[in-house]
Amino acid sequence: MTGAASTTAVSGAQPEYTSDEMMSIAAARALENGKRCFVGIGLPSTAANVARRTHAPDLVLIYESGTLGSKPDVLPSSIGDGVLAETADAVIGVPEVFNYWLQPGRIDVGFLGAAQLDRFGNINTTVIGDDYTDPKVRLPGAGGAPEIAASCREVFVVVRQSARSFVDKVDFVTSVGHGSGKGDRERLGLPGAGPTLVITDLGVLRPDPETAELVLTQLHPGVEVEDVRAATGWDLQISPDLTRTEAPTAAELSTLRTLKEASR
């Protein structure tokens, strides 16, 4: 689920870092201490574990493999790593994860990746192409994502941005973001607020409060609006309150790199 790490180096007065590192650290910062976070493997897991080792020591990590309150000392390479069970407050069966813990809305943040994401934050991890029965590319499928997207109080998406992955309309709605716009989640009866934050290697997008369309609200250091527009498959709107992400601190980078190093 992790792909090749981006090697774009960003330099300046700050320590050097890659755009992937910026993405992970921006995602980590979004996680408030004490929150219960349903974590997918790969980028979400990296970010959640950086958060737990920096500003959010009491972040509660929940993995769909059946661990509540995992405290891994290395980055797990799969959601089923032994370290997740060994360090958990409770280990439970998979039906219980979904029925007793996710479905009733006990989880604050669902942390998801995406193969394709559209302007309303809908996620596709099923097929690329128009024909489900004869797909251009067969992706892994739903996993836990549809119910994570439905039931968590809010959803953060962490995904590398490109015009191919950021599309006007996903080929297949695996997990509902804001459907076809504002009010759709309520009409569908989805209890959570849906994607409130999309963190990419270029910046941060948030749903417009009026339309639920994802708009650019924050740029990572060294990235310009035109770079993000070029990496977006729809006519991206820019927030009038566009801000600039603070570059990773030395402490954040060292935490992230130590974690990554330890898991090699």
């Binding site: 390479s77 998979v94 836990g144 119910e147 009866g189």
Partner: protein, 282 residues
């Protein structure tokens, strides 16, 4: 009382051509050795059921054992795609593969219904997604008390379920711990079951987090140390993360895969004291 058998006999007796077969184990305790024994015995036309058809089913699908896959996430965890699965879905190689696709929540509840002797399960799921349009086994049901509409999924009741566990005693009581996934449900939902274990012991010492399946709920147990590799058995082995990456290089190419089957799976039959290889190797 569960029979204690060899892996070859267990698979030979319990898995038949055309069966609905579930191999479960959620990243932990995946019954890889049993999966390869199915390939070795040349089973075909299987309907394979599994929440996460990772390497174990990439191998079975690539070897042509399956005609249908019921699943919720088909990837190589931590690595990327399952190339044999993709090749089967995208190019019908080596045989066409029908798919029936759910979410994890749906699959888990289908097993729960199966284990509970109920025809269906209810969940708050699928709403607004494109899955119901393509999956006939997702329907809607109305709460008779509140009028709310919820998703319904039918029970899964495999002909045979196969899992890997840490231990069994000589009566066939099975003990597993760590991440226990949906293995108990898969066994209880099935008509027959085979459990491969790291070891058969005289006495099952209690372990925190244990799930115990009584001997009368299991058909057969086979001692297969390391039978979960490259997955792992907590307390016995570590996950072989390098193998998952290595698999990407094997599964990616049809010929490399065929060579792997010939050298690593079919050759392996001579290493077991098999008597159950009734169908021959294709």
């Amino acid at each position: 009382m569960a029979d204690i058998v060899s892996l070859a006999d267990g698979v030979g007796e319990l898995v038949r051509d055309g069966d609905v077969v579930a191999l479960e184990g959620f990243t932990h305790l995946i019954p890889h050795a049993a999966g390869q024994e199915i390939i070795r015995q040349g089973r075909k036309d299987l309907t394979l059921v599994r929440m996460t058809p990772d390497i174990v089913y990439d191998q079975l699908i690539g070897a042509g054992c399956a005609r249908k896959l019921i699943f919720s996430w088909g990837g190589n965890p931590g690595v990327g795609s399952l190339h044999r699965f993709r090749d089967a879905v995208q190019h019908a190689w080596p045989v066409p593969l029908e798919i029936e696709e759910h979410s994890h929540a749906g699959m888990a509840n289908r097993y729960v219904a199966g284990a509970s002797g109920l025809p269906f399960a209810v969940l708050r799921g699928y709403r607004g997604t494109d899955l119901p349009e393509h999956t006939a086994t997702i329907k809607w049901i109305t709460c008779p008390f509140t009028g709310e509409e919820l998703a319904a999924v039918p029970a899964i009741n495999p002909d045979v379920s196969i899992i890997h566990a840490q231990r069994a005693d000589r009566a066939g009581n099975v003990q597993m711990w760590g991440l226990v996934g949906v293995q108990k449900e898969a066994v209880l939902a099935a008509e027959r079951s085979l459990v491969t274990v790291e070891e058969v012991v005289d006495e099952l010492e209690p372990v925190a987090g244990q799930v115990v399946l009584p001997h009368w709920a299991v058909t057969a147990v086979a001692e297969v140390p390391g039978g979960a590799h490259p997955s792992y058995a907590q307390g016995y082995s570590e996950r072989d993360n390098a193998y998952y990456k290595y698999w990407d290089s094997i599964g990616r190419d049809r010929d490399t895969f065929r060579t792997w089957v010939r050298d690593e799976v079919l050759a392996g039959r001579f290493a077991t004291e098999t008597t159950g290889d009734k169908e021959g190797v294709r």
